[in-house]
Amino acid sequence: MVPAVRLRDAVSLAGRFPLLAGVTLDVAEGEVVHLRGPNGAGKSSLLRLCAGLAAITSGTAVVLGHDLRADRQSLRREVGLLGHASFLYDDLSVERNVVFAVRAAHADVAGVDDALDRLGLVGRLRTTLVGSLSAGQRRRTALAVVVARAARLWLLDEPHAGLDGEGRTLVDDLVRDASRRGTTVLLASHELDRAAGLADRTVTVVGGRVVDGEQPVGRPGPGTSGVVGARPGGLDTADADEVGCDVA
């Protein structure tokens, strides 16, 4: 079995600054991993690396079977990244934004409606320009994109930030649902309790490296192949692959 994410001593630079200073991390398929660490530790960069946005300078990185040293492009359709920026066009309506992102990923547009409903973007909100949305609504739209793209790997950077109580619960539900369908989730968050409750495992990132929790739960050491970490209600990966591309 190929793990969803497999990093070995991955270094990623921004100009001459090492964002990641040698990350080693394994994430099994279908696992929910919580990334914690101080500001500037490299959590966001780690997510960007896994999304195929940041280039890897040394070490190896294989995400969803794509070797990032060789090809970062074909990976991108299969991941959903919720970053600090929302990747939305201000002058397009909520619905248009989501439809564009879904079409671009060659995913099924049929899922857009459900995703928008799920995130409470209903009625007039759908035809509202993203530029005139509140920060929270914008965040929800960005989440709708991630959901509607039916990605195999979710990379969520502070998903709870800027959301109201209901929205936060919604994020939790979305993550649980996704994980039930076999989606792998990497979640960077400062809300330790909330995120830990969601995650199968917590990984600590400091100084551009993973200092704690490199391996999935129940796996002895690096390089050993094993089964998905024990997790209540975890699906078999074979199943996950089949279901993984549909959105409730």
Binding site: V11, L13, A14, G15, R16, F17, P18, A21, G22, A55, T57, S58, R69, A70, D71, Q73, S74, T204, V206, G207, G208, R209, V211, D212
Partner: protein, 286 residues
């Protein structure tokens, strides 16, 4: 369709990026010291060679000036003005070498098998020197044109294209200064160099037609002066070509070394930053 989508290209590109570090002495962990010593000796040898080229260039240019200003006779038609033709054509010639080298090394950088930051540095050095020589070509040509044609400037195809070359490559140098990681900048600049280079012939032929469709060329090409040259004049011209080419080699080598130093500085900064970051994480682990 694009370079990026072909996995093989990208794979080799990655492998290429993996070896770009190898052109610096002392790269690689084991035996770094030995490599460094060897590198130092190599540098000393190249220093000597560079100094030799510099001395030759200087002597060549001085002799050219001496021959050109004092020894050779004035031309039958152009009088003393012919003396400008001992430097102007050779400067223009060097300009073409500059852009030719910049273009070829940009191609070499983009070609996955020969990808190496050396070619990027060479392209950068050569084009910067090229811009200097283009400026000089324009200025010396203009100074020659004023008494000969009675005007500082004429919309001659060669002149117009040269002026466009000047601004095109100023733009290219600006692209080179966009910050980023070395490989990223190198690829971007290499593409920009090729995009700019392709424009040059199109420019030249457009301007040629532009002129020919409107008025017959009333002014002789500056190079036609060569037809009347013999004896000491020919030798002076030849010497001028050789010595300005040496000047080019020397300048490019010096500029190249500057790039190497800048790169080394960046590497040292990176090594420090990397060490600091790792210390941070080690502290957290402990």
């Amino acid at each position: 369709m694009s370079l990026t989508t072909t996995p093989t290209t990208r794979a080799t590109a990655a492998a290429g990026a993996g070896r770009t570090g190898a052109d610096r002495p002392g790269n690689g962990a084991p035996g770094a010291r030995a490599a460094k010593v060897e590198g130092r000796r190599g540098r000393r040898r190249s220093d000597v060679a560079l100094t030799a080229v510099g001395v030759c260039a200087l002597v060549g240019v001085l002799v050219t000036v001496w021959l050109g200003l004092w020894v050779t006779p004035p031309d039958r038609f152009m009088g003393n003005l012919v003396r400008l033709l001992y430097i102007h054509p050779s400067i223009a010639w060097v300009m073409y070498i500059c852009y030719g080298v910049a273009f070829l090394s940009s191609l070499a950088y983009l070609w996955p098998r020969t990808r190496s930051l050396r070619f990027d540095k060479l392209a950068g050095a050569s084009s910067e020197v090229g811009v200097v020589f283009t400026g000089l070509t324009l200025v010396t040509g203009s100074i020659w044109g004023r008494p000969t044609w009675g005007t500082w400037w004429t919309w001659d195809p060669l002149l117009t294209t040269t002026a466009l070359l000047f601004v095109l490559y100023l733009g290219y140098l600006a692209v080179r200064r966009i910050p980023g990681e070395p490989e990223v900048c190198a690829k971007r600049s290499a593409i920009a160099a090729i995009v700019a280079f392709v424009d040059v012939p199109i420019c030249y032929f457009s301007v040629l037609w532009w002129k020919s469709l409107h008025q017959p060329p009333s002014i002789a090409d500056p190079v036609t002066g060569k037809t009347y040259i013999h004896g000491s004049m020919a030798w002076t011209l030849l010497l001028s070509f050789v010595s300005f080419t040496l000047v080019y080699v020397w300048l490019v080598a010096r500029r190249y070394r500057l790039f190497v130093l800048a790169e080394r500085e960046g590497d040292e900064g990176l090594a420090l930053a990397l060490a600091e970051r790792r210390a941070e994480s080690r502290e957290a682990q402990a």
